[in-house]
């Protein structure tokens, strides 16, 4: 026979449907969001990964100054290093030989001429001819008759041969000496004599592009830079999110994210390089998931940069400079990050040497594993969901507590029934199972509906959120076992154990105690003495004392709600604040990063700009402690730290003079993020080399713009084995105009920093605003459930005071006012708690990320977060009042046992 108690469950659900509806909606929302986040993420990551092979993602690319010859491409493909030394020697010999030959010829001519002239003069003297004109005449004749024969004879002489051989030998020796000297420098610089070198064979594809101006509203003003590739490319293909590839020469397909960001749709006309094209496709290039124009860009820029596809015919008609870009695929794929670095380094050696011996020049080289445009999005997507999940679990735990309290109240109410059942032979286990079934069923229902929504609506929301930010391919829904665990198993376990704990504790009492309604484990404490206030005030105070445990949960709910509101308001405020403070977050109005400190000709790059000041920089990693929150992060773990070498007496970064070797200053962002103080020792390490550096912190530079370490330039060069005069770039107050653009890697201005926040606001701002209002509804729902418990618990007393003749208004003031006071008081307190907790949570959250910015809330946001919560509560108290009005008087009479 099935346990007849099971029949109670649907009835219980039906009788209190509004409470369970709120709880199920809550669960569905929470579980749906987590499920959507995970499924969306995994679908996205899977689509991105699938693109690697389906869309033929390059393993890297390089750009040459002019088109490569077939021989050069073949040589690079072989992965072998060219013999650069021999190339220089051969080239030197060729030049030297030519010079020697010219010199010998000239000298021989002179000598033969002189011999003929001397011979004629000797004969004239013997014949007594002294007239110089006559002598000259004889010389001319003799020259004409004998010069060639004499020259030939001279050439044949042993003496001559010996002299010539010597000249060549000397010249060759000089060439070898000069080449070796040069070679040593070069091979050292590029580590070309590395014993560990292994050839990496690759397949090379032409992947030329042009950068053109894009005017997407045809107003004659350039809106963006667009990088154009040909539609017949065999590598780095695009997936079409909408539309198709261009088929005629006036059609273009552009990046989907850029199009969304600037508001271009299929069928629109845009002007590229002065010509008008119809947009026929919105695409996502497999190697441009974010709009990073240059790999050194601080932030991607979907507003100002675009990638596009034209037919080869249309491409060839464009006039801007053709970038001779070549993509390559390793014939054997590297396994792991270290192997990738290793492959890339070896390939680069072949590339450098082969290009050199072919008289070509490398303009750019970028292995895909270092490409920001390719890797920024996946690593960000992977890191996102952890925080959300933890947040949702806290909410589910709160729901579990609400459930537990509700059940605990039900047990109180049903004490005599429980006593009777226990006395009749029902075991404690059977009753525990019975009371546990409701939360478990509700959680299962929530999980089922939540997961269904997670795989549909919420997944699409998550995907849309990522689509807002990144240029991603269209994902297919992926079945995610880990999502199932996180969205069903964990909430179920939370619900199960929290309720089990409370119910088991509650049902510990003997059947007799249940029969007697004696549900306290310990003896009643002495009655509290309360001040001699008015009767109503004392009554309210008694209500407050009587419901302490409920108020404790209510207060927790208020704190949680306020925390959520602080989150909603704070994230937007923090981003805005960061954007507004951007101009302060840069050392100099202009920060020029150079490609190298010397130009093409080997001269140190200088400027006449008076305010310019040299600095050096490099990147190291700071180890981060692994925490559960950091699980699955894409950034690879450790924090990237920029090390600056600052000139003595810098006008831009204020360092104390004469900092001892091994001592550094750190940025305030670094200090704040990792709680580093003056005198602390920090250890930084190289990413791919097994090399680490220890520094003592001497001071903190007020700089919120990045995780940075500062030392003087000389120490920098010594620490990192740089040449004495080496540096990385210039800080300047004014724009520097006398450095060749070819030599500048990137320029950072305040605008670049605000670009970060503009992009972030575009990506998450809208979502956060929706989130904020969702939080208010959530907070109201929480208070609704908790306030309901308080009224339910007092149903009997309320019914009783009704019998005694209290009016509904008076009863409302007795039972709602204490709750109102508690809610108001703790809302204000919770703002403080929420604010400081958010600072901590934000800090912990940023520990997963690279970089740092502080949590900030505007005063008006603080006020609003309190007002919104109280408005939510006001709404709930109206419902409470209606509930009080509905309590019938016979409740008190019926249960008078």
């Amino acid at each position: 026979m099935r346990n007849p108690l099971i029949k109670r469950i649907p009835k219980e659900l039906a009788s209190d449907w509004h409470k369970y509806l709120v709880i199920i909606l809550f669960m569905v929302g929470m579980i749906g969001v987590i499920s959507g986040m995970y499924v969306g993420r995994e679908s996205m990551v899977s689509a991105i990964n699938a693109g690697k092979t389906e869309l033929n993602l390059e393993d890297g690319c390089f750009e040459l100054s002019h088109r490569a010859t077939p021989e050069l491409l073949e040589n690079i493909s072989s992965g072998k290093k060219a013999d650069v030394r021999q190339y220089f020697i051969d080239k030197g010999f060729e030049e030297a030989d030519k010079e020697v030959a010219d010199a010998v010829e000239k000298e021989l001519n002179e000598q033969v001429k002189k011999a003929i002239e001397d011979g004629v003069r000797a004969q004239c003297t013997a014949m007594g001819i002294t007239d110089e004109d006559v002598i000259s005449g004889y010389i001319d004749v003799a020259m004409e008759e004998n010069f060639d024969t004499a020259l030939e004879e001279a050439r044949k002489s042993d003496e001559f041969k010996e002299a010539v051989d010597e000249a060549y030998s000397e010249a060759h020796d000089a060439v070898i000496e000069a080449v070796d000297e040069e070679w040593n420098d070069i091979s050292e610089e590029y580590k070309l004599n590395d014993d560990n070198f292994r050839p990496v064979t690759v397949t090379i594809y032409e992947h030329f592009y042009r950068n053109e101006s894009e005017d997407n509203n045809n107003d004659g003003v350039e809106d963006a830079t667009v990088r154009i590739f040909k539609s017949d490319s065999e590598i780095d293909l695009a997936s079409f999110v909408e539309g198709r590839a261009p088929e005629s020469k006036n059609e273009i397909a552009i990046d989907r994210n850029h199009a969304d960001t600037v508001g271009v749709k299929i069928g629109d006309k845009i002007t590229v390089g002065g010509k008008e094209y119809e947009v026929v496709g919105l695409l996502s290039y497999v190697n441009y998931l974010t709009m990073h124009e240059s790999n050194t860009d601080l932030m991607f820029d979907a507003f100002g940069f675009d990638v596009a596809m034209l037919t080869p015919e249309a491409f060839n008609e464009l006039t801007s400079r053709l970038h001779y870009n070549y993509s390559f695929l390793y014939d054997v794929k590297p396994d792991g990050k270290v192997a990738q670095a290793d492959y890339s380094e070896n390939f680069l050696k072949a590339l450098i040497t082969q290009t050199l011996v072919d008289d070509n020049e490398i303009k750019d080289y970028l292995p895909t594993y270092l490409s920001q445009a390719r890797n920024f999005a996946p690593s960000d997507i992977e890191g996102d969901s952890v925080g959300t999940a933890i947040f949702c679990y806290i909410l589910i735990a709160v729901i579990a507590f609400i459930f537990a309290i509700t059940i605990s109240n039900t047990i109180d109410k049903e004490a005599s029934v429980i006593g009777t059942l226990r006395a009749s032979g029902y075991s404690k286990g059977e009753l525990i199972v019975h009371y546990m079934s409701m939360p478990v069923i509700v959680t299962l229902a929530g999980a089922a509906i939540g997961n269904a929504l997670g795989y549909t609506v919420f997944r699409d929301m998550a995907v849309k959120l990522y689509f807002n930010t990144y240029s991603l391919p269209l994902p297919e829904v992926v079945w995610s076992p880990s999502a199932l665990v996180k969205t069903t198993v964990i909430p179920l376990l939370l619900m199960f154990f929290i309720n089990l704990f409370v119910i088991v504790k509650k049902l510990q009492l003997s059947p007799l105690k249940f029969l007697r309604h004696d549900l306290t484990k310990s003896r009643r404490t002495k009655a509290r003495r309360i001040p001699a206030w008015s009767f109503l005030s004392r009554f309210r105070l008694r209500v407050l004392f009587q419901n302490m445990p409920n108020y404790a949960v209510l207060i927790f709910g208020v704190i949680l709600s306020e925390l959520m509101l602080c989150f909603g308001f704070g994230i937007v405020d923090s981003l805005e604040n960061y954007g507004n403070r951007a101009p302060e977050m840069i050392f100099a109005e202009y920060q020029y990063m150079l490609m190298g400190y010397k130009d093409e000709d080997g001269n140190v790059i200088v400027t006449d700009e008076k305010s310019a000041e040299r600095f050096s920089c490099t990147n190291l990693l700071y180890p981060k402690e692994k925490t559960s929150m950091r699980e699955g992060m894409g950034s690879g773990g450790d924090e990237s730290v920029t090390i600056y070498g600052i000139s003595d007496g810098s006008a831009y970064v204020d360092l104390a003079p004469d900092i001892p070797e091994g001592h550094v200053y750190i940025s305030s962002a670094f200090g704040n993020k990792f709680y580093i103080k003056n005198g602390d020792v920090i250890t930084l390490h190289e990413e791919y080399e097994n090399k680490s550096y220890e520094f003592t912190v001497d001071g903190i530079v007020d700089y919120e713009g990045g995780i940075a370490v500062f030392m003087d330039n000389e120490s920098f060069n010594r620490t990192f084995d740089k040449k004495d005069d080496e540096f990385s770039g210039y800080f300047s107050r004014n724009e520097i105009t006398d450095i060749d653009e070819q030599d500048i890697a990137t320029v950072i201005t305040a605008e670049d920093i605000s670009k970060v926040t503009t992009q972030l606001m575009h990506s998450v701002g809208e979502f956060m605003n929706i989130f904020k209002y969702a939080m208010i509804v959530l907070a109201a729902a929480l208070i609704y459930l908790l306030a309901k418990i308080i009224i339910e618990r007092n149903e009997h007393s309320i019914s009783m005071v009704k019998i005694l003749g209290f009016k509904n208004g008076e009863i409302g003031s007795l039972y709602i006012v204490p709750t109102a006071i508690v809610v108001t008081f703790f809302t204000v307190i919770s703002l403080g708690i929420g604010y400081f907790m958010m600072i901590w949570i934000f800090h912990e959250f940023l520990m997963q990320m690279d970089g740092y910015f502080a949590f900030y809330m505007r005063p008006v946001s603080m006020v609003l977060s309190v007002v919104y919560l109280l408005l939510g509560y006001a709404f709930v108290s109206v419902i409470d009042f209606i509930r009080i009005k509905k309590i019938p008087m016979d409740v008190a009479l019926k249960n008078a046992d």
Binding site: M1, R2, N3, P4, L5, K7, R8, K11, E12, S15, E414, S416, V417, G419, T420, L421, R422, A423, S424, G425, Y426, S427, K428, S510, P511, L512, L515, K894, D897
Partner: protein
């Protein structure tokens, strides 16, 4: 009739400590035969409910023992006590303690579920005269009807012992007699041993065995040879 079906020996129980200590049972001795209708009679505070609770295994004595068919309750752990109650006992209380959101039939099924040899639920409903009310909820029933359901829930288990704690305490004269008749029927029809706690002297006339309690001890232990049907009781 099985002689020492239920044996109560030197049973003592007190509540509170020190000056507030109150001896509720002060060495109680008697036996009950199988199938006997036994009434425990006494005024308030005589210890009859405490005695019933100890026999029911939901309270424990300070000393002495209760044994059923020679099995001492004090030797049983909580699990065994639960099984004992489940297999052998049916309970009827003064307050009916029905499950509010189960209907009449379902409330009776709650008892049937516990038993290996339950009676037919429909038959019990008919016996109790509840056929017209079987789909009603407790709050749609009168007190007498609720007590019938409560008896049904206890009887349907086909228990060896039916424990009744003031089953008519909250009912009027007429309804009380109906309920007593029902309990009498259970005794005769199903052979259950009945132990009924009451302060109503009149009820002793329908019992086989009357034990009068006062101040925690047995004052009279009488076998009633001239028992009359419940319907003929007057008070």
């Amino acid at each position: 009739m099985e002689e020492n079906f239920l044996e109560i020996k030197d049973l003592k129980k007190s509540f509170g400590t020190g000056e507030a200590k109150q001896d509720v049972l002060r060495g109680m001795n008697f036996t009950v035969k199988k199938g006997e209708f036994c009434v425990l009679l006494g005024p308030s505070g005589s210890g009859k409910s405490t005695l019933l609770n100890i026999i029911g295994g939901i309270d424990t004595p300070d000393s002495g023992f209760v044994s059923i068919r020679g099995d001492k309750l004090e030797d049983m752990d909580e699990k065994q006590l639960t099984i004992y109650r489940r297999k052998h006992l049916g309970y009827v209380f003064q307050m009916y303690n029905l499950i509010p959101n189960l209907n009449v039939k379902e409330n009776i099924e709650v008892g049937a579920y516990l038993s290996d040899k339950p009676l037919d639920v429909e038959e019990v409903i008919t016996t109790l005269g509840l056929q017209d009310h079987k789909y009603k909820y407790p709050n749609q029933l009168s007190g007498g009807q609720q007590q019938r359901v409560s008896i049904g829930r206890a009887v349907v288990k086909n228990p060896d012992i039916l424990m009744c704690d003031e089953p008519t305490g909250a009912l009027d004269y007429k309804t009380s007699k109906e309920i007593l008749s029902l309990i009498e029927d259970c005794n005769s029809k199903y052979g259950s041993t009945i132990i009924m706690v009451t302060h109503n002297e009149a009820i002793k006339y329908m019992a086989d065995h009357v034990i009068k309690l006062r101040d925690g001890v047995v004052r009279h232990n009488d076998i009633n040879d001239k028992k009359i049907p419940a319907s003929e009781l007057e008070w």
